[in-house]
Assembly symmetry: C2
Homo-oligomer: 398 residues x 2
């Protein structure tokens, strides 16, 4: 039986691909410190389950295809609180930010059309684009200057008559980069002048450090009809398993198309929408201690990484990821070796090789993504292990 070419061409998750090695290590009794996956350890606010438990129904019926209205209202209020002019009618609820990103690609692109994405990028972007035959064209960024965007001329040189959109996360996964207000404005200007959408994945919006904030594309009032805003409760409220996201836009054509896509799959899950409304209704003060917690972890992580011989890691400004360039021949080999051949005091570390977060072949072969989703003590121990491992790794570059 033939499997479609597009299914064959999809990659298995590079984030999850080393899991069998980790499972073997655990079977041997080794404690594995998971720095490989963006699964926060922060407690999901209790209001989520409280609201779910209060749900009262005889028949768990279909919800509206554009989502449970009270949740849409709460999301609109959330946007208004942070100064973005979105209203209930601009919001449609999706099965996680993942579905919202897929819909944005379907709406912006016919097969063979292109989206420009700064690389390294969230590797699942590739999995979102592949079934729809949208093409991802990378805007290459580099660890040496903290993954800053190149200048306008470089970016414009990548635009072809097939280019339909920018797609980017800000704050960013996997590099934790927070684009400057100037960088955001530059992309907005290019989008306006070259007639492009901006698929703005801002799910890490609250996680910016050093007293800074991320400039939202939703605040660029002159290009609001071009912005397709993607959000999710997963990281924002540590509720990854809820699978509740949203697509938001002031563009009526985009919303009409999104509703048709919504109707085609009927609705998002009801109970999880009920719980998610309680999350969006939380006092905005909810974020301050969590942000402080992540910032402290980031500082521990970066200080430790920068203290390791031959490691390059510019301090990232947001999300809960950093990319470290390691003094190794191949980061995936090193990540596997950590799980198969190394331990220190009964523990080892699981990292995500970054090569597959780049579209350009050959980029990122000596880079890893580190997610700082562990508590302080575990993070410190993980860094101690990593340092010791790098010192003795046979594939170390000198």
């Amino acid at each position: 039986m033939k499997i479609s070419v597009r299914s064959q061409s999809m990659q298995a998750s590079p984030i999850r691909k080393l899991v069998p090695f980790a499972n073997e290590a655990k079977k041997r009794g080794t404690k594995v410190y998971h720095l490989n996956i963006g699964q926060p350890d922060i407690e999901t606010p209790r209001v989520f389950m409280d609201a779910v438990k209060e749900a009262d129904f005889d028949v768990l019926a279909y919800a509206d295809s554009n989502g449970w209205e009270p949740l849409r209202e709460s999301i609109a209020r959330y946007y208004q609180r942070i100064g973005l002019p979105y209203e209930t009618g601009d919001v449609i609820i999706t099965n996680g930010g993942s579905e919202a990103l897929q819909w944005a690609l379907i709406i912006a692109c016919d097969p063979g059309e292109e989206v420009l994405v700064p690389e390294p990028f969230y590797t699942n972007y590739r999995g979102f684009a592949a079934p729809y035959l949208a093409e991802i064209k990378p805007i290459t960024t580099y660890p040496e200057n903290g993954f800053a965007l190149p200048g306008r001329e470089v970016i414009e040189s990548l635009i072809t008559d097939k280019t339909r959109a920018f797609m980017l996360s800000n704050p960013g996964n996997p590099a934790g980069v927070v684009y400057s207000a100037q960088e955001v404005r530059m992309l907005a200007d290019i989008a306006r002048d070259r007639n492009l959408y901006i698929i703005a994945d801002e799910v890490y919006r609250e996680f910016c450090y050093d007293g800074k904030t991320a400039t939202s594309f939703g605040s660029m009032t002159d290009i609001l009809d071009r912005v397709i805003m993607i959000d999710s409760v997963s990281k924002r409220f540590s509720a990854c398993g809820a699978r509740i996201g949203s697509l938001t836009s002031k563009n009526r054509d985009v919303m009409t198309a999104a509703l048709k896509l919504g109707q085609a799959r009927l609705c998002a899950p009801t109970l999880e929408m009920i719980g998610s409304k309680a999350l969006y209704d939380l006092d905005p003060d909810y974020f301050a201690p969590i942000r402080a917690n992540y910032e402290e972890r980031r500082n521990i992580l970066i200080e430790a990484l920068q203290d390791m011989d031959g490691v390059l890691c510019e301090k990232p400004g947001g999300a809960f990821y950093a990319i470290a360039k390691l003094p190794v021949d191949n980061a995936e080999d090193f990540a596997i070796w950590l799980l198969t051949d190394f331990e220190l005091d009964g523990g080892t570390v699981m990292l995500a090789p970054v090569e597959n977060f780049y579209q350009t072949p050959g980029m990122g072969v000596d880079e890893v993504r580190v997610a700082y989703v562990l508590n302080k003590e575990d993070l410190q121990e993980a860094m101690r292990i990593l340092k010791a491992a790098l010192a003795v790794y046979p594939g170390r570059k000198v």
Copy 2:
């Protein structure tokens, strides 16, 4: 801003398209009997929420991309109880049967490739296929002979070098048809001889009447590698809002591709998977009274329809739908007229015009789908109203 051609070409839900007229009628104080949508009124089993309320977690974390393993195990046991040889490893959990159907199309078809679908078909099939550019080619069936499949020669004449699969629901939506064992075997034979997949949407499996059962494609052991089995808790357990479905196959390549699609969107919603496991663990006796209830409703409905002058409606064998051919010029006009211009003792009826359930232009213009998802008394009243309306409808054909 350009919207992609594929988004523009998607239809709005024909099932939901008359909703504004219904809302107007309700505002005027008219009671609307909803026969238009397959939302059962059967109570969702209490075990669903009981299981959800017992869920104990600090962090609502990502589930496995192939689904929560206890649910996959329970679904495998469910299949084994009904004599289908599926095991846990053959099952992946999806966001409703909708996502499972989409994945089956992605896996079977590259853009421009075709699936053969008996028409009239569940209109959302079109919405599943459109974003992926899979083409639906109809196998036309007719109300006059109870929507039976045509013979093998007719079906084979529709196969081209682009045909990749049959896709069909059995028992069927929208006609409530239960294909005979011979019809199922014929499709299996054609699939084997012509190298096609069978995308078997069997979500109404338990709802067969007159003491009959539906022959499952999962019981055709010689073609199991061709079968992509689609299931869902929505209709089976009256839990439409849970959005928990499954894709099941013995074909390893299909399952590998499905897992990659699963990883690309991370996982299905956690709480709803927990509740759904409790549903699949219900005693199989659960279905008997519900089946009896639907059968009684069907009998009331069909008897009433057959009693109306000029109405053609062969008794359907399963699901909870029937298609009635009405003595009207245009069924959609009639359905709108019912909502805008007619009432009897304060009530009117909402029907689903069937034209959009056909792919062939001009088919089904005088047909409606009736879902018998109301209690007996409401159903009887709805039939009384429909009979009175048909008698006075200005567009009545004589």
